[in-house]
């Protein structure tokens, strides 16, 4: 149970539901611990860099304005 101070805010039924959810997730999260030799942060940085490289291949002129708040057409 993550935060005992909040117990009074929910019914027993709701807390039971949350507690069983934590119990279900904990072993799964543990199983997904980063495998040895795998640097996930570096993997994600590299993925972002690949995406940005793909963006840089699109020719843009100064007249190509960005979307600020999508206005659908």
């Amino acid at each position: 149970m993550s935060d005992i101070r909040n117990r009074g805010r929910y019914s027993r039924r709701e807390w039971t539901s949350l507690a069983s959810a934590f119990a279900a997730v904990a072993p799964l999260a543990a199983r997904e611990a980063t495998p040895a030799g795998r640097n996930l942060l570096e993997e994600r940085r590299e993925a972002d860099a690949r995406a940005i490289a793909a963006l840089e291949r699109v020719a843009l002129t100064p007249a190509d304005e960005p979307i600020f708040g999508l206005v659908v057409t």
Binding site: N6, R9, F22, V25, L28, L41, L55
Partner: protein
Amino acid sequence: MPASDVFFKSVSELNRMLVNREVSSRELTEACLHRLETLGPKYNAIAALTRKSAMQQAEKVDGDLKRKRFRGPLQGIPFGAMDSLAYPGYPTAWGAKPFASQSFETKAAAIENLEGTGAVLAAKLAMVELAGAGGYEYASASISGPGRNPWNPDYWSGGSSSGSAIAVAAGLLPYALASETRDSIITPSAYCGVTGLSPTYGYVSRFGAMPVSWTMDKIGVMCRSAEDCGHILQAISGGDNRDRGSAGKSFYYGPEYVGELSRLTLGYNPADFEQWPELATRAAFVTALEELNILRLRLEVTELPDLPYDSVASTVIHAEAASAFEPFIRDGRVDELADRYQIAGLRAALELKSTDYLRAQRIRAKMQNELTPLFRKLDILITPSRLRTASPLDDPLQPAPSPRASAKTRGLTDLGTAANLLGWPSLSIPCGFVHGLPIGLQLVTRPFNENRLLAVGAAIQRRTDWHLQRPPVA
């Protein structure tokens, strides 16, 4: 107690039963709550039951029905809402352990609108943590555990609106609200065999909804049929000055105004059905395509311009999500998430440069200019919703669940991503089964033309029974 058939009835059928006093809203709500309680945990579908407020609303509606105060097709019918939507008095955990004790005093506008028509919120439904804002590698990326597919609980439900799709597919609820930033409605709809509508950006207020990407987030719905989607979109759409993205428009469900379907032209690409999908699914997709010929819809081959759809979408979503969740990432609470791939993704996203984000948004504008003309000669674009069936529960979802097929043309394989980037509406309808798991077709059209999508979807569903199939739920 209503017969078991009642759990798979459409909104229109349930409304008829309520108006004719064959069943009361209280009975219907109690029956759904019982089913949610007993079957929901089996599929990890539930975030929280809203029993107390649901029974109060049901009793109020029964009073109205008794006095013949009819308020439309959703009156007295229970529904569910993805746990990204706030509802006072109950937790809104956004599917994530670090937010397990979070609650809001405000009510999400979409829920508020439904309750205004007499609909009854019965449950908050499970979702992928933070709607997968930073990307995720495993189906178990949720405080509720992995979404289990009602057609085979050893397979994933799809995400991020996992609980919404499960609840509708398993007959726990007639319909459920969900959210889509990128495929979060379309994917679970296809994998669970339900009809999912992601409306035009701005049609439905996002007030009270968890933000992932302010320029891409949409609230939509999952139902048993295209017709049901129309009734619900009519109820939840409308301008809202509490949402900066609101288009200020309301949707009126009127498929009859679309006219003769034989006058519509559908853009498709044979490669999307014959080459891109996973081998086992190709025959089923081709069969589904043949149904369109029987409906005498005109088909024309087309393809999307060569643009980096995936890169633009990932850059926009990651940059906006990193901004929305910046304090949470910086103070280390992000490490309490279940999925390590998402933790790393959110941390890396904080390092994106403003010029990269702006470049993505500039290409997005260019994309809008280049893709919008497609609708000068085409009315709807159509492609498989996903190129495969749901994956086994323990399979990694990233970077690719299986070796990707290839084809000589890109066809419309990026249609879903393009639609999300441009705010176009999208409908996923069931179109067959492969090894006992559903597959779906995705239909996309120009903004604010949902009636066109729903009319074609309903016509297909009048001819076929894929959407009427029921999973082997106890």
